[in-house]
């Protein structure tokens, strides 16, 4: 199921209470997960992620995903139990220029003495509503064998 409401997703992603986990793999297939501190949905529907640390494993893996044309996965969790799976493709890593400098200034205004390694732009390929209730309803409808019999017993 695709989550097609841009404004809805934007509100969720741009909320400070939302937790987003980025899952990537490195060159030899080792998985890596990281909580993203600075992700937002831009007006044109691209995800913009500010990578603060040059040494971050996630930055290296994002670079590899751009270099070798691989997708990345993001899990978005809201405090009310909402869960969304986003599949995306890194389309650009910006390490300099006017917009990068604007982001650098913003980061330092917000976080104090912090650095910025790159502004990463991720194109969204798919968004799936992964909230437990939605997933359960989907499973009940699509996989009728996936249940314990006692749930069907006469009471």
């Amino acid at each position: 199921m695709s989550f097609s409401c841009h404004e809805g997703l934007k509100k969720i992603l741009n909320s400070p209470d939302t937790v987003t986990v980025l899952a990537t793999i490195n060159g030899d297939g080792t998985p890596h997960a990281a909580v993203l501190e600075s992700l937002r949905l831009t007006d044109d529907g691209t995800l913009e992620y500010l990578e603060l640390l040059e040494s971050a494993r996630s930055y290296r893996n994002l670079t590899a995903s751009l270099w070798f044309n691989k997708t990345v996965s993001l899990l978005v969790a809201t405090p009310d139990g909402g869960r969304y799976q986003i599949t995306g493709k890194l389309v650009k890593i910006s390490i300099c220029g006017a917009y990068f400098e604007e982001c650098y200034i913003r980061v330092r205004e917000k976080l104090g003495d912090m650095d910025l390694a790159a502004v990463c732009f991720i194109k969204i390929l798919d968004v799936v509503d992964d909230t437990l209730a939605v997933r359960f309803a989907r499973q009940e409808a699509e996989r009728p064998f996936y249940k314990h019999l006692d749930r069907l017993a006469r009471t």
Binding site: R60, L66, E101
Partner: protein, 418 residues
């Protein structure tokens, strides 16, 4: 470059074939190598979107370029992964890639086919300013996307008795540059200090300072003058920083331990590079006769190794001009032999804490080797992989000379994965 050289280049496997041959090497890095290897030609459409207020134009460089001109052109290119591509404007007859503006995008094309999207380098804010002595700051300090370049002097004393490196055009280029641009031949520490101070007013723009110039053999001990000049400049630059040490690289002659210790202790310098240029003693003696005469191949290696004890492991490296080991008539006649030998010697250095980085040899019209051909794309890709594999094998970091702080070494671009 003769028609034969272009014809030979066209017989070699092309970019697509090499990308398919090396699935472990990022296609963007292979593309960068080929763009550096073949150079670029800017179309009228591409030049029409160059905006001097936003884009950096070709500035005073240490070495010349393939077109032997100083006309206003974009300084260089950036790929969409942040990779820096130092390009050389190249005459169309020499089969360069074309930089074009198509469907609202700046792209490089080959034979009319779009290869990759590119951007021009952003111009630094300080480029339109002058120092209090009236020198345009862009002639005092030049820039890459994230690096400041200080080139204190464009003269190399190895040319005094005609023993400059055979691929190098520094002295001939200097005459050209000085007369056409009025670039100062020697920089004053005050001008440099003031320009760096101005550059630091642009938050997020720069992450390192690199100093380099020609060799200066003068002094009680050879190169004392060169060392003294760098110390003066580094101390002046250092006055802009709150910490004693600041991210910086010196690319210079192979100095003695005493000279290196002075550089490390008396300044904020954090890393050191002495380019050995070619990893073979016989070829070094032929191609770099000045370095051979004043230092010697084995001593050059030992000075690099000794520098590790002073600057620390991971902070010392050497550069080679990739492909020059195949120069005629004394170079290797097979790319396989050249690669094997180069990597063996690079391994000796790596095992002693010294990284090797390669540059793509750009044949310069004002150099002694002006009629030669650089190596195949396949060779450069294998060289990049081989040098990076040595860093992994010997667990050698090289943060000071990576994609952001330099951008001229395809092998060190691969550090982004580690």
């Amino acid at each position: 470059m003769s028609r034969n050289i272009v014809a030979a280049q066209k017989r070699e496997p092309d970019l697509g074939e090499i990308i398919a041959r090396y699935p472990d090497v990022p296609p963007l890095i292979i593309t960068k190598i080929d763009v550096q290897r073949r150079g670029v030609h800017y179309t009228e459409r591409a030049l029409a979107v160059m905006d001097a207020a936003r884009h950096q134009q070709r500035s005073a460089a240490l070495f010349g370029s393939r077109d032997a001109k100083l006309t206003p052109l974009p300084e260089s290119l950036l790929f969409r992964d942040g990779t820096t591509v130092l390009t050389d404007p190249t005459p169309v007859e020499e089969n360069p890639y074309h930089v074009d503006f198509l469907d609202g995008l700046l792209v490089i094309t080959d034979g009319g086919r779009v290869v990759e999207e590119v951007e021009y380098w952003p111009v630094p804010d300080f480029f339109d300013k002058q120092t209090s002595s009236g020198t345009p700051m862009k002639f005092v300090v030049t820039a890459r996307p994230q690096r400041l370049n200080v080139m204190p002097s464009s003269y190399c004393h190895f040319w005094t008795n005609d023993k400059g490196c055979k691929y190098c055009d520094i002295v001939n280029y200097l005459k050209h540059e000085k007369s056409e641009l009025k670039v100062p031949a020697k920089l004053s520490p005050d001008d440099v200090k003031e320009t760096i101070a101005e550059a630091l007013k642009q938050p997020g723009r720069f992450s390192t300072i690199c100093l380099t110039a020609g060799s200066d053999t003068r002094g009680t001990v050879p190169f004392d003058e060169e060392v003294e000049g760098y110390i003066r400049l580094l101390q002046a630059i250092g006055e802009n920083f709150s910490t004693k040490k600041f991210p910086s690289q010196l690319i210079a002659t192979a100095f003695t331990e005493k000279q290196l210790a002075r550089l490390y202790e008396e300044t904020g310098l954090m890393s050191y590079t002495a380019d050995i240029e070619v990893l073979n003693e016989k070829l070094f003696n032929w191609i770099c006769p000045g370095k051979a005469e004043w230092v010697g191949y084995k001593e050059w290696q030992q000075r690099l190794i000794r520098a590790v004890a002073i600057f620390g492991r991971g902070n010392v490296n050497t550069g080679i001009v990739g492909g020059v080991e195949l120069a005629r008539p004394h170079g290797f006649t097979s790319e396989d032999d050249a690669l094997q030998h180069t990597l063996e010697e690079a391994e000796y250095l790596a095992s002693n804490g010294v990284s090797t980085v390669s540059m793509v040899w750009v044949v310069r019209p004002k150099s002694y080797f002006n009629d030669q051909k650089n190596a195949s794309l396949d060779y450069y890709v294998r060289l990049a992989r081989g040098l990076q594999a040595l860093r992994l094998k010997y667990d050698l970091a090289m943060d000071f000379d990576d994609y952001r702080r330099c951008g001229n070494h395809p092998d060190s671009d691969l550090l982004r994965l580690v």
